[in-house]
Symmetry: C2
Subunit: 388 residues, 2 copies
């Protein structure tokens, strides 16, 4: 199988012509008589336009098929080929990328592996984010963790903007939080994953990741688009990184937010993040205030799950969203809440409990009507945030 890419061109662009420019310009380029003896070699690298679909809204969708031999089986060389120079040529949006199933990497853990680590075979997982994002000490992190861990939280992550800062160095955060995780493991026979944010220049980041894992980190968080796909791929390929990697979508709006430029969110956060080998991918949900369509969210969900990658809809997630999330996702989903847990009126532990109560009340035959919810964490959450 080859690589197929759909490009959408807005009204007024000659899609057929532009697709041909891509097929030639993004592969071999032109050659002349002096290289005529190499023609077979050039043709083996040339892409071809396989479809042009003119749409009723005036836009057009062109499908270009590229030889796998042009790239290195990774995402970075793929990006350069399919959109490197051409991205600067005028309006065009990459709406879908179809890769051979063997292209790229598989997650080392993914849905099944993360479930196995947490000894939780089937229900949705509940994930929190340390808040406030900046200004907490390492000890503050441990204090927050002890509250939410006691309430049964599955996963917690650093805020993506919290790097290796003087006010709370990464290794110190981990060291402060490890005893809480170990304590919970002893009490409940069950782990809690803390996805520690790995940062820095690529060489430092890879060394830091190994150091963190050696010091007991049981999950990592990476801002893939800030640091680079090649960094995610190196982490996935590294045998010392024996923990799941949570991929954060920071900066994705700069790549995907525009109507006629860049990538669709599903091509980037779905297809490419999955083929890079992330174990779980965070992305904006349509439950909150972000301008995000349900259909696009579900394309991400399906692209991830097709490769055993855990979907992690984020932003706007609070206990009141749970029934809709279950309807949309079923069980294989990580419900990731920042303020939706930390800002519960009765504190973070009650925020976690509200999610687990919500999971019970979202089951078939149960009611999610406020009047039917007994006094407690969920009721308090619904009184604050309502249901979407």
């Amino acid at each position: 199988m080859q690589i197929e890419v759909d490009y959408r061109f807005p009204t007024g662009v000659n899609a057929e012509k532009q697709a041909q420019v891509i097929a030639l310009g993004q592969t071999v380029g032109t050659w002349d008589a002096s290289f005529a003896y190499r023609e077979a070699s050039f043709l083996a690298h040339k892409a071809e336009v396989v479809n042009i679909e003119n749409r009723t809204d005036g836009s057009a969708l062109a499908t270009v098929r590229f030889p796998v031999a042009n790239v290195e089986g990774d995402i970075a060389s793929l990006l350069t080929m399919i959109f490197g120079k051409y991205s600067m040529a005028g309006p065009a949006k990459v709406t879908a990328i179809r890769l051979p199933s063997g292209y790229g990497q598989r997650p080392k853990f993914g849905i099944t592996g993360v479930r196995s680590l947490l000894n939780t075979p089937s229900r949705p997982l509940v994930m929190a984010i340390y808040k406030p994002a900046l200004g907490l000490s390492a000890a503050d992190h441990a204090q927050i963790l002890s509250k939410v861990a006691g309430a049964g939280l599955d996963i917690i992550k650093d805020d993506e903007i919290l790097g290796n800062l003087h006010s709370a160095p990464t290794l110190e955060r981990l060291k402060a939080c490890r005893p809480v995780i170990e304590d919970m493991q002893q009490k409940n026979g069950r782990s809690l994953l803390y996805a520690v944010n790995v940062t820095g220049k690529a060489s430092q980041l890879l060394a830091q990741a190994r150091q963190l894992v050696a010091a007991g980190a049981n999950a990592l968080l990476l801002n893939v688009l800030s640091y680079g796909f090649s960094v995610l791929e190196a982490l996935v390929a590294d045998p010392e990184i024996s923990v799941p990697i949570f991929a954060h979508p920071a900066l994705a709006g700069a790549w995907c937010g525009a109507p006629d430029h860049g990538f669709s969110y599903s091509a980037l956060l779905g297809t490419l993040f999955a083929h890079a080998g992330a174990d779980a991918v965070l992305y904006p949900s349509h439950y909150g205030s972000l301008p995000f369509e349900a259909a696009e969210e579900f394309r991400i969900r399906d692209a991830l799950r097709s490769r055993n990658v855990f979907p992690v809809p984020s932003a706007g997630i609070h206990p009141g969203v749970v029934p809709r999330a279950i309807a949309d996702y079923g069980q294989d989903v990580i419900l990731n809440a920042g303020t939706g847990i930390m800002d519960h009126p009765d504190g973070p532990a009650e925020g976690v409990r509200a999610f687990f109560e919500a999971l019970e009340h979202a089951e078939p035959g149960q009611s999610f009507e406020l009047a039917q919810i007994p006094a407690g964490a969920l009721r308090r959450a619904l009184e604050k945030w309502g249901t979407p």
Copy 2:
């Protein structure tokens, strides 16, 4: 000095409100009474809105000032802070980023260092790109190089889409080309830089770069946005990478091409590439067919030169452009041509000679009128490509 970022919001967006969302949401986030004792710490991390400029076209420019203590002195953590999550919140474009001069890295070579390596203190440098991009063997590369090197070329680079492919592995290309470079060095007492494209997963890429330099590579090429800023920064910081790094803008249109999303080209390819430590930065010129404004190109030029980084306007560069390029750039510029050299009617060597003739004819007191140009390489180039 702190970090200042200008965000442009289109008509209809409440810029004041959104700027406040950025200042709080992209830094500390919210905190409540339970962390009141840490208020001073939170305030030390919070950004502030320092200006709102409402423009006559209905758009607004908001300036937000961020504490340097929030980031790690690199580009990746900066990107996450200034636009990570917020990029997904709706239309907004980062039009300018003002960093403390000590922020990030300085080029190891830059304009002065590259000139010194080439023993060419003052004139514009002439750079070529191997073409066709894919399908040539390593021996073909050496054959092309011997033609252009004999004509006095200063720099040549791989096409950015040519990675470490089976048809011409990177190390083989270098090994085939090294003898040509050494031969020229012996004949002319002067080097020629070959910027070899480094690719792969981050760990492999860094190892490959060291291996290439050890094997005699005297320059490297990196697709910064495909592989990640953290990879560029690691290369710059690596003492074994004792050669200039040419930064390619592949994918920049996905970050910068949209009117109301992403980044301005000058913020990304000017400010951020320069502070990451690139020695020379390629970017689209306004001389060719790419939709690129002169004013934006000159902002890139100035951002690069302010840190001794060589500007490399590319695309649409041919000998006929030289007088305009000299008027726009003066001497500190690298004129980078792909087809503008390789597709000269009389071959690549004549393509190089046409550039050097053009540099002579572009000097004060000389004429660039076709009628005044004697028969030869330049005249043939002007007959093919004209002047812009």
